[in-house]
């Protein structure tokens, strides 16, 4: 399930609902990304996230499809905030349920790398010193590139 929402969400409650929904799976991985209160030395007071309704959801669906082509996944949940966020607020949550832990870990990791670099969001930090548009770090592009040349993880069992 994919949800782009303007209201805050509760990762614990989302995980509970997700696990109920994915009750047959042996492994569930969740990732929550939150607004940090200091990116660099400059205090971040708020974060503004913009999206392109319709197009953004479709860009996330494409990312999910890629993950499902690559790993055997039972269920996924992708939640992404838009609007104004305060330090400590959850921005993004990804949950993956699968039979074994390796798929769940890799798929969640993959989804996050691609959400960082391919999903259609634009993020501005409101800092003490002014407003700054954020772009992916080099580390983010490198993380996403990890999945380009490696094939599907070899599975035993």
């Amino acid at each position: 399930m994919i949800r782009v929402c303007a209201d805050s969400f509760d990762p614990g409650a989302e995980l509970s609902a997700f696990e109920k929904n994915a009750s047959g799976a042996g492994a569930v991985v969740s990732f929550t990304g939150k607004v940090r209160d200091a990116a660099g030395s400059d205090g971040v007071k708020a974060l503004c996230l913009e999206h392109y309704p319709g197009v953004t959801e479709r860009s996330i669906q494409e990312i999910e499809n890629k993950a499902r082509e690559r790993w055997k996944i039972d269920e996924t949940l992708i939640i992404h905030r838009v609007g104004e966020l305060a330090p400590g607020d959850p921005i993004v949550m990804v949950c993956v349920a699968s039979a074994h832990r390796r798929e769940a870990f890799e798929a969640a990791d993959f989804l996050m790398d691609y959400l960082k670099t391919e999903a259609m969001f634009w993020k501005k930090e409101i800092r003490d010193s002014g407003e700054v548009w954020i772009e992916p770090r080099n580390a983010d592009y490198k993380d996403a590139a990890r999945w380009k040349d490696s094939g599907r993880h070899d599975e035993e069992e």
């Binding site: 392109y52 996050m112 999903a119 259609m120 634009w122 993020k123 501005k124």
Partner: protein, 83 residues
């Protein structure tokens, strides 16, 4: 009138998140529109130059040489930053 959408820092440069824009007869492609908008607005020209801007026409990703018309919704996207 074409509907033009600006996202992220392109909206700051354009001075707004959207506008209706009547395409001149010689504005036939995205590339033509980029030139027309850049001529109107120096801040926009700067961001177009510096950034890997992507284009969406009627909600589909489009290349710089894609044909556009006065009925289209055309969006300009700076590098994304989700998560």
């Amino acid at each position: 009138m074409a509907r033009i959408l600006f996202f992220g820092k392109l909206a700051d440069a354009a001075g707004g998140r959207s506008c209706d824009f009547s395409l001149a007869p010689d504005t036939r492609t995205i590339d033509d529109l980029v030139s027309a908008l850049s001529a109107k607005e120096a801040a926009l020209a700067a961001v177009f130059n510096e950034n890997a801007v992507r284009f969406i026409v009627n909600e589909m990703i489009a290349s710089r040489d894609a044909a556009i018309s006065d009925e289209d919704e055309i969006a300009f996207l700076p590098p994304v930053s989700g998560g």
